[in-house]
Amino acid sequence: MGVVRIVELPRIEGHLDVEIEILGEDIRVRAMAREGIRIYDMILRGREYSEVPDIVSRMCGVCSVIHRVTSVMAIESALGITPSDDILALRELATIGGHVQSHLIHLFYFILPDVLGIDSFIRLIDKNPGLIKKVMRIKGLANSIIEALSGRAVHPITTVNAETSFLPSRDKVYRILDELKATKNITLDISKIFLEAEFPDIPKEENFVSLASRDSINLLTGKISTTSGVMEPQAFLERINAIVEEYSTAPHFLFDGKAYMVGSLSRLNNNYPLLNGSARDLAKEFNLTFPSNSIFMNNKAQALEIVYFLERAEEILGRLLEKDELKLQSEKKHGNNFGLAATEAPRGLLIHTYQLENGKIISANIITPTAQNLKNIEKNASEYVRALLNNNFDLGEIRKQIEFLVRSYDPCISCAARFRKSNNLGKKLYK
């Protein structure tokens, strides 16, 4: 039947073309990152370690908080610094702000039009202004959490660490707490839109990777949970490899030679018993069960996470306010100049590693969630095309469904893109 090319897939972060090739029984989908050259790993070489957080936050306008926090944690590990629990709690708060705003952008600005069959969220300005205002209020709340901790919602100015005396004023914290309490029902209302929506339950996802959690859903620390067991991040790194595809400006990762999925769905699949509070109640109310192996459930997982994260923020803030003074001193031992941090970005597992020498970066490696998802996107989109063809869908409908499927991974191409195929840089960076 030939080739369908979706050029610059609308309603995702960054530039991605998707090519669907159907040659008889042979079906191939290619996820072609088109974003230009953004070689942060190279830009960082030779820089003072203190310059890194400001530069890497610029990898992504939607997930700048987690890039900043992850780089700081990786560099701390290179220097032998262990942040105190209070510092980690403050960073988790900023991260939660970042995740909630990112999930809201994905669900409402990107996915909702697919659910409602409209082209753009902004059509709701006339059709359902009440909903737009609710979404904007919660997004504003999420951003105010980032601003209180880091100074600015996009490209945060500071990261809570021992060297920064920056702490939010009690006034600001109380205002955020009041707003968290006042907006609880609004958060539930808007999340339900996705929890009650009917999504296709194919194709079958298999390989879920995320941080492993113990007490709450971990975002900043912990081992890595995979279908082959729980392992240290370093061991995980040794089992993944990057493929450079001629057609893509992003590396495509495999774990033990197989495609895998990171993101909200992986987090809940691997840590479902820890989902508590209203999010747990909602999952029961809507008969949602995890683990689930439909990628469309990633949208519902994000909706549950919005509820979970905001309750978690309230809990952390309450806990911190009870203390007379926060412990911001970190422990420092001798570092070995190699630093690694594995965290959960809104879109899934994120790993930063840095090798330092005399306080300067001599090599950096940033493994983003979307780069890890690309092979899985291709595999599952191919299977989905086959299923749709078997059900006699026409190419126009197939195209729409594939757009919806790719979008459900919440890809972020600005993060994933690194090199341009023409200059062999990809091959140099990823042997």
Partner: protein, 231 residues
């Protein structure tokens, strides 16, 4: 009254400037009462026709993107470069003056740019004042002050006096010294101010015992890309 037709476009970038616009929340709704947003890939809006105002974020990193920016210029009456990527090819963020072999071209290497909104990301208030000027048919004028002179008026504590590096004295204002207000030295993301004296700045850093970052010496030779005058 004719509503301005507006398009928002992105080249290679982090899309943070668009996120910054979306983060205006209800104030964005107010803006959308007065303009007609017709094209924006992130919001699923497609138009492919003439617009009154084109906002472009990102730099040019390929011939394809060079063609794209020319195509957008060809069908827009007013073109505005958003953020440091579009303004300088991200040089003021990456502090990479003249040594890079990576192609990251500012858009005014290819097309005329009517206005620049500088910074990384753009400043929301500055965006709103530009939009308001356009709606009222006025010319937008960017701040001629440095970050330092804005900062003094806000009575922030001077970080240079405390011995920290701050690029406020040589950086163009318009951001209300947001970094210094958050207890961090100016990062210089808005590029150089008018007629700033880099040599004198380096001397003053020396006298305060602050170590001189090597990129400042690179900047002495000029930032290494074309002029960025507003027309």
């Amino acid at each position: 009254m004719h509503k301005l037709k507006v398009g928002i476009y992105s080249l290679s970038s982090c899309e943070g400037c668009i996120v910054q616009i979306l983060n205006l929340e209800e104030r964005l709704l107010e803006v959308l009462n007065h303009v007609d947003l017709v094209e924006c890939r992130v919001l699923g809006l497609k138009h492919d026709d003439e617009v009154d105002v084109a906002f472009v974020e990102g730099f040019v990193s390929s011939d394809e993107e060079a063609t794209k920016i020319k195509e957008i210029r060809g069908r827009s009456r007013i073109l505005i470069a958003l953020g440091d990527c579009a303004y300088s090819g991200m040089r003021f963020v990456a502090k990479d003056f003249g040594t890079s072999t990576i192609r990251a071209d500012p858009i005014n290497m290819y097309v005329n740019v009517d206005y620049h909104l500088r910074g990384c990301p753009i400043d929301s208030e500055e965006f709103l004042s530009l939009i308001s000027d356009l709606i009222h048919g006025k010319k937008f004028k960017e701040s001629s002050k440095t970050v330092c002179s804005e900062c003094i008026l806000l009575e922030n504590k001077c970080l240079l006096d405390k011995g920290f590096l701050c690029l406020g004295p040589i950086t163009r204002g318009g951001c209300n010294a947001i970094c210094i207000a958050n207890n961090k030295g100016c990062f210089g993301c808005r590029g150089l101010g008018d007629d700033v004296n880099i040599s004198a700045f380096i001397e003053s850093l020396k006298s305060k015992g602050i170590s001189i970052p090597s990129y400042l010496l690179g900047l002495l030779k000029g930032p290494g890309y074309g002029s960025s005058q507003n027309s």
